[in-house]
């Protein structure tokens, strides 16, 4: 088990390093000279040179790369030459917003999906099971931004129950924070809930056909009883995987909902930074997003090792 963990850690580090190189080189491909964007139209060549020197974009690539990675490892993303502010505190601010949004939404989605998915599996030949299946199919198929826009029209424009958007930090005004969080979380959670319901359903269906469950039922346990007693642990594994993968992907994926609800998350920060050709910020944000995904994978693996008895033995 310890060896497995160690292998995973090494893999994580190696993948992360390779990703830094990929991201760094990719950023150099982006057309649009940052100096030109900063100076605007008709800048003279001398001014452009001067600006590039100030930005450090005239240095050799290897130097720029090492400088950047060194900073990354210290958690210092440097000073953006576009906004002329430290990047790290801004990223941390935005990351908090994204994490609150995504984790709340996933928690709500799980709370809905686990019971619904289980019912859908256990009663998969009854009306309720089929209905849940159908509703979840529909939930998965509706573009998230459409769900968001519809929620705004109904709950803020028509009914006036919730603000149409915006963000209030929880430590500033907790009530307002919750009010503003409600609709975006609902929009995210309804789609994610539908996805997770589908996964829970198929995971439960799968274990229901396992031999040990049939044995348990043969011994006189009810369907539900057998499931709760023997099945849940095994059904949890694919659900954990999907939840982890979704959380990682949602940190950036929520950008669409951030746009609809005017939420200052990481995704919209990335879009803005790309638009401003704030390459250093873009680079740092992409690495933060990549690191989150890799960390999530690592975490899933660790949870696996703990949850799955077979895994513990095999290592």
């Amino acid at each position: 088990m310890a060896i497995r963990l160690l292998v995973n850690l090494v893999r994580f580090a190696a993948t992360f390093l390779v990703a830094t190189v990929v991201v760094f080189l990719f950023m150099r491909l982006i057309p649009g000279d940052p100096a030109q964007v900063a100076l605007g139209v008709n800048a003279s060549p001398e001014l452009l040179e001067q600006m590039r020197a100030q930005f450090g974009t005239d240095r050799p690539l290897a130097v720029q790369y090492l400088d950047w990675v060194g900073g990354l490892l210290r958690g210092d993303f440097g000073v953006s030459y576009v906004t002329r502010q430290d990047i790290s505190p801004l990223v941390i601010d935005r990351l908090q917003v994204s994490l609150i949004l995504v984790l709340t939404a996933m928690a709500v989605a799980l709370l809905v999906a686990i019971p619904l998915g289980t019912i859908a599996a256990v009663r998969h030949r009854n009306f309720s099971g089929i209905a849940i299946g159908a509703v979840s199919q529909l939930g998965v198929a509706i573009p998230g931004f459409l769900a968001g826009i519809l929620l705004v029209i109904v709950f803020s424009i028509q009914l006036g129950w919730f603000p149409a958007g915006g963000w209030t930090p929880p430590n500033q005004d907790f009530g307002e924070f919750l009010r503003r969080l409600f609709l975006p979380v609902l929009a995210l959670a309804s789609v994610q809930g539908a996805i997770l319901t589908r996964y829970v359903r198929s995971a439960v269906l799968e274990i229901m056909s396992e031999d040990y469950l049939r044995t348990a039922r043969a011994k006189g346990l009810s369907k539900t009883g057998a499931l709760l007693k023997h099945g849940m642990r095994n059904a949890a594994i694919p659900v954990i995987t999907v939840t982890g993968v979704q959380i990682a992907a949602l940190i950036i994926g929520a950008v669409v909902i951030e746009r609809v609800f005017v939420i200052p998350g990481l995704g919209s920060m990335l879009l803005d930074a790309v638009g401003n050709r704030d390459l250093l910020t873009v680079q740092s944000l992409v690495m933060v997003l990549v690191a989150i995904t890799l960390l999530m994978n690592l975490l899933i693996d660790v949870i696996y090792t703990i949850v799955d008895p077979r895994m513990r033995k095999s290592s």
Binding site: D33, L39, A43, I119, Q158, G166, R259
Partner: protein, 506 residues
């Protein structure tokens, strides 16, 4: 577990209800009550383009001066809502007989937000600094200044190398902002000016909070705190106004959303004018637009009123070239190229350019996307097949079209005030117009007296229109929507500055 069924039904019903409700007209919006607005001391205004930092001396773009000029920074003079030059930090000024020396008398008792007193030395410092420290291309507008002479604490003389009518106007724009030598250390984050507001907080791409100063030399603004909120999405912006998160929207980029506000007494809608023209720029240097007949054909092919009606919901007005009716030398040339597809086809035939295939680089901005589809459709009717190519704005468009002139046709919102000569009196500008005819007229006009200036500039416009140098689709409207009770939001956007000093709650 059977009792779970109703839950699912309820969920399905709720979803269906949501869809139906969403389908109904969104007119009955619940906004904040207008009852106690008179007691409010703050206002929030929604804008579209966010400044990337707060230093317009080294960063291009209209968003920074929009927020800071007239509010944080002041110049010697400013432009009022009628487009006239009026006193600000300068009480009065005089022009020497050779029209080469301006002498300004300054207001007394003016201080910067860092407490430093404002004197003639600060004027010299600021004007000289344009040449030494500014990096944006605006700095060229100060080239005509030979020297700045401090006559006394309240008197300053500016000597020009040659007479210039344009210069006095130019110092009402950001180029004339007055800085304090002790306040230029961190312009990007902490601007210091003589204006009625100072920057209280600044979050990039989100908001800028301005607080009034207690020691402002002039009349205090009607509200104590103004928050400028930057919202990229037009629908989100109008939602924010409806739900009371913002009190006004300035220069709304989505004219389709206006109608529901017009019918609602809780809001006031004003469609003012701006200095922005939506251009249809043709690359004069390369085929097929190096042929004047092809350019004229394009202008005849366009039904510009139909473009305004479909692309911008009827908001906006016609102008023939880069001059707006609020500029002193405006002349109406709108009838020069009437909508006439047959004539367009004839011209194309004459030029041997039938069944033309061209590419149309369209910046990724709402106005550009909106006009592009109707323009393509109108051109197709005369046998010009334009293929749209999206060009990310500003980064890619600036490099590709503006700097490298790698385009045949493009469209852009040219917001700079009084930009006729910037665009056309420079053959290296991206349009590539041959300025040999207008250059001498323009030079003479700038050095002439006022009447000569106006006459000369009108001649320039006529020549440009004759040459069909480039198209202007329409004059961009400045759509302002305010919550009833908030007054003093400027209607017109004539210069970059969004002057917030007259805001008040009724």
């Amino acid at each position: 577990m059977r009792r779970k069924t109703p839950l699912i039904l309820t969920a399905a019903l709720a979803a269906a209800t949501a869809l139906v409700l969403a389908g109904c007209s969104a007119g009955s919006g619940g906004s904040t009550g207008a009852a106690d607005t008179a007691e409010r001391t703050s206002a929030t205004i929604a804008l579209t383009a966010a400044p990337v930092n707060l230093d317009f001396t080294t960063t291009a773009g209209a968003a920074i001066p929009q927020a800071l000029m007239s509010n944080v920074y002041e110049g010697l003079v400013e432009i009022n809502q009628e487009g006239e030059i009026v006193p600000l930090l300068a009480k009065e000024w005089s022009l020497s007989d050779d029209r080469k020396t301006y002498t300004f008398t300054l207001n007394e008792g003016v201080t910067f937000s860092n407490g430093e007193p404002f004197t003639a030395a600060d004027v010299k410092f600021s004007f000289d600094r344009v040449k030494t420290d500014w990096t944006t291309t605006l700095k060229g507008k100060m080239d005509v200044v030979e020297s700045v002479e401090v006559l006394s604490d309240t008197e300053v003389a500016v000597h020009l190398t040659q007479p210039s009518n344009a210069w006095l106007f130019n110092i009402a724009t950001p180029i004339g902002a007055i800085f304090s030598p002790s306040g230029v250390d961190d312009l990007a984050n902490a601007p210091v000016g003589t204006g009625p507001y100072e920057v209280a907080s600044w979050t990039p791409n989100e908001s800028l909070v301005l607080d009034t100063r207690d020691d402002y030399w002039g009349d205090a603004p009607g509200v104590e705190q103004v928050t400028l909120k930057y919202l990229a999405d037009a629908t989100a912006t109008t939602n924010a106004l409806r739900t009371g998160d913002v009190d006004a929207i300035v220069n709304l980029q989505a004219p389709e959303l206006v109608s529901t506000f017009e019918e609602d007494p809780a809001f006031e809608v004003v469609s003012g004018t701006s200095s922005g023209e939506i251009s249809l720029s043709l690359n004069n240097r390369i085929a097929p637009f190096d042929d004047v007949r092809v350019r004229q054909a394009v202008l005849h092919a366009l039904d510009r009123q139909a473009i305004i009606d479909t692309a911008w919901n009827g908001y906006g007005s016609l102008t023939a070239t880069y001059v707006t009716p609020l500029e002193p030398y405006y002349v109406d040339l709108n009838d020069a190229y009437e909508y006439n597809p047959e004539k367009a086809k004839e011209l194309l035939k004459e030029a041997g350019a039938e069944n033309l295939d061209i590419t149309f680089k369209v910046p990724t901005r709402p106005y550009a996307q909106a006009v592009s589809e109707i323009v393509v459709s109108q051109l197709a009717a005369v046998g010009i097949n334009a293929t749209i190519e999206s060009s990310e704005f500003p980064a890619v468009w600036l490099e590709d079209v503006f700097t490298n002139h790698n385009y045949q046709m493009t469209t852009v919102l040219a917001v700079e005030a009084r930009d006729l000569l910037t665009v056309f009196n420079n053959p290296d500008y991206y349009i590539g117009y041959d300025n040999s005819k207008i250059a001498p007229i323009a030079a003479e006009a700038d050095a002439a007296d006022e009447a000569g200036y106006i006459e000369g500039m009108q001649q320039v416009q006529k020549q440009i229109v004759d040459d069909a140098a480039s198209g202007v689709l329409f004059l961009f409207p400045n759509i302002v929507i305010t919550t009833a009770g908030l007054e003093g939001v400027p209607e017109n956007a004539i210069v970059e500055a969004l002057n917030l000093t007259d805001l008040s709650w009724k």
